[in-house]
């Protein structure tokens, strides 16, 4: 890792690269103090991590100010994947924009779609029928498990544990198969429509979901067996990237990161949406707010998701799957903010309607973007290798950070 990241300026052979680097350094708020003792105290240096770094989960560039191995400060450079999702939203109809939201947090596309559809439904003052809500909950919770599995595999790989990656991807495949059978897509699912669901469940859907529940529960134990008491895992995650609950609140951090710091807050309980008020589940929390606790919280969340899915799939009501929504979506003049508990935290949509078929303004409040801001607080004083662990534990998806 150090070979790739510690890039001394004299080593940079490409002229273009050095031009880009120096120009960006000029805009950075990190500056080197002129060393008083040039020979012995010249350890402070500013290096780049990313954007082409395998452990930054996409194209995140972090400028690190280091004293030897110790991190003195960071600055995130983001926007490499900026596609102008909000601008696109203003120039597409409500229906046309629906598939775009899948491309933000592409490992939890179903959650994005749920948030968007519910926000527009709220703006139109309509509600999805009960059966559609149950289907939504089942798919969204399956997606939460898939998202956490992908997080666990890649996060463990970053820290040096290779096996969990194979295990989690093997089991995530079963979820993607259900998605594929339901709506034809595995990743960018576009599973829901404004007003309900487009597709009725396929024959054998309930059975396959139940089979998945019995299949995956022991697998989660298996992941835990590999890591929870693993000496190396403990050394790399305990007391690494500690953040207090108060800091989380001030920084707007939500999701498992907030809960691992001891704040028991989950939008599914605090302000229930879809059919979540009808299910019995707990909010797992941590105590120390370190990387290890965040790992435990996410593992516990997967088990809670299984509980929710089990209740939903057993109680799925009969009835229509589409509410009374006109063919042309034209919400009345007004504005709405609606948010859901996505796997990464609070995912919100603020939509202003001018009464036409296109949103006047469509703002996405992305959890990854806001959570990433906490990176600086979490890594100060740690070692370079811990930065990798903390980026992993924040569980960011750059497609959502940059939009």
């Amino acid at each position: 890792m150090s070979d790739q990241t510690v890039r001394d300026k004299s080593d940079v052979s490409s002229q273009a690269l050095s031009r880009v680097e120096s120009s960006h350094h000029d805009h950075s708020h990190l500056h080197l103090e002129a060393p008083e003792k040039p020979y012995l105290d010249s350890n402070e240096l500013i290096i780049n991590m990313g954007p082409q770094h395998p452990a930054t989960h996409g194209v995140l560039r972090v400028i690190l100010k280091l004293d030897g191995e110790k991190v003195l400060g960071t600055e995130c450079v983001i926007g490499y994947l900026h596609r102008g999702v909000e601008k696109i939203g203003e120039n597409r109809t409500y229906t046309m924009f629906n598939p775009y939201v899948d491309r933000m947090d592409y490992v939890a596309a179903v959650s994005n779609g749920l948030g968007y559809c519910e926000a527009v439904e709220k703006l139109m003052n309509v509600e999805a029928p009960a059966r559609a809500k149950y289907i939504r909950v089942i798919l969204t919770e399956l997606n939460r498990i898939a998202s956490h599995q992908l997080w666990l595999g890649t996060h463990a790989l970053d820290i040096g544990a290779m096996t969990p990656l194979f295990y989690t991807f093997r089991d995530r495949e079963e979820i993607l198969k259900i998605f594929e059978k339901y709506c034809g897509a595995r990743l960018t699912t576009h599973a829901f429509r404004i007003g309900g669901c487009q597709y009725e469940t396929y024959a054998g859907f309930e059975k396959e979901v139940k089979n998945f529940l019995t299949f995956v529960a022991p697998k989660i134990d298996e992941y835990e067996e590999l890591l929870t008491t693993n000496r190396i895992w403990l050394e790399r995650t305990k007391n690494v990237g500690v953040i207090s609950g108060d800091d989380c609140v001030a920084l707007g951090v939500t999701g498992p990161v907030l809960r691992a710091s001891g704040v028991k807050w989950d939008l599914r309980k605090a302000q229930p949406y879809a059919a979540y008020s009808e299910f019995d589940f707990e909010i797992p929390t941590g105590e120390n707010g370190d990387t290890y606790d965040r790992y435990l919280v996410r593992m516990a969340e997967m088990r809670q998701s299984l509980r929710i899915i089990e209740q939903a799939v057993n109680g799925i009501p009969e009835g229509p799957i589409m509410g009374k929504v006109p063919k042309v979506i034209k919400p009345p003049v007004g504005e709405i903010y609606h948010s859901i508990e996505a796997p990464k935290g609070e995912l919100g949509y603020f939509i202003v309607s001018d009464g036409s078929t296109q949103p006047y303004r469509l703002r996405v409040r992305p959890p990854s973007f806001v959570n990433l801001q906490a990176l600086d607080v979490m890594v100060r004083g740690l070692l370079v290798a811990d930065v990798i662990a903390v980026i992993g534990t924040l569980d960011i998806v750059l497609g959502e950070v940059d939009r």
């Binding site: 120009s23 960006h24 805009h27 708020h29 983001i78 926007g79 900026h82 102008g84 909000e86 601008k87 696109i88 203003e90 120039n91 109809t93 709220k122 703006l123 003052n125 609140v249 001030a250 920084l251 707007g252 951090v253 704040v263 807050w265 605090a270 302000q271 034209k330 919400p331 009345p332 003049v333 007004g334 504005e335 709405i336 903010y337 948010s339 609070e346 919100g348 603020f350 202003v352 309607s353 001018d354 009464g355 036409s356 078929t357 296109q358 006047y360 303004r361 703002r363 409040r365 973007f369 806001v370 801001q373 940059d402 939009r403």
Partner: protein
């Protein structure tokens, strides 16, 4: 930085026609609403006055500078720009709105005060959401709330990047999603969806156009 903000100002008349030209279908509907903020036409609900102890308290304190409304069960305050740093601080300290969910803006090019700046707030102890909105003119600045909620640092940078809104007292107000040196602020209504900084693309990517 300063010239970037001013540059779009002379162009609105020309720019305003652009979005409508791109979406004739949207402009055609029979009931063309005049102003998004205006009370709704027969179809759809209307924002109603919002009364609560919180509103009473601050209305007594600040008088007419606060308009409290509720729409579809969501409460918001339209406040005068002059109240902005004080009211936000009071909401956090006295009313426990300890979590600033989001800051964003909406551009109304035909209005005299072109921008709505919106704070979406949440209170953990009260489990309650509200929004605070204020109007500012193009080129006018607004006090930063970074020292009230640390999370607003990047959110304000994004609002600056996308709308060109200046936040006074922000520790490091610069572009966040677009590259340094990009011209224009894309979420303004006079910035067409196909428009881009051709010069930046040519210099940095070495191609005629990114489209």
């Amino acid at each position: 930085m300063a010239e970037e903000v001013k540059s779009p100002a002379p162009t609105p008349p020309e720019g305003e026609t652009k979005p409508t030209a791109e979406k004739p279908a949207a402009a055609a509907p029979p009931v063309a609403p005049a102003k998004p903020a205006a009370p709704a036409k027969p179809a759809g609900p209307v924002p109603l006055p919002w009364t609560s102890p919180l509103v009473e308290k601050y209305r007594n304190q600040y008088g007419s500078g606060i308009e409290a409304l509720t729409y579809l069960g969501q409460n918001y305050l339209n406040v005068d720009r002059s109240l902005i740093p004080d009211l936000l601080r009071l909401l956090r300290d006295q009313e426990q709105f300890d979590y600033c969910v989001d800051i964003t803006a909406v551009h109304y090019p035909k209005r005299e005060k072109q921008f709505d700046v919106v704070w979406i707030l949440y209170s953990f102890p009260r489990n309650e959401r509200m929004r605070v909105k204020t109007q500012i003119a193009d080129g006018a600045s607004i006090p930063s709330s970074v020292d009230i909620w640390a999370t607003t640092n990047w959110l304000e940078r994004e609002a600056y990047d996308m709308f060109g809104i200046q936040f006074d007292g922000h520790p490091d107000l610069k572009r966040i999603l677009l590259p340094d040196g990009w011209k224009g602020h894309p979420l303004r209504k006079d910035y067409g969806i196909l428009q881009q900084d051709k010069e930046w693309v040519q210099i940095n990517l070495g191609i005629e156009s990114g489209q």
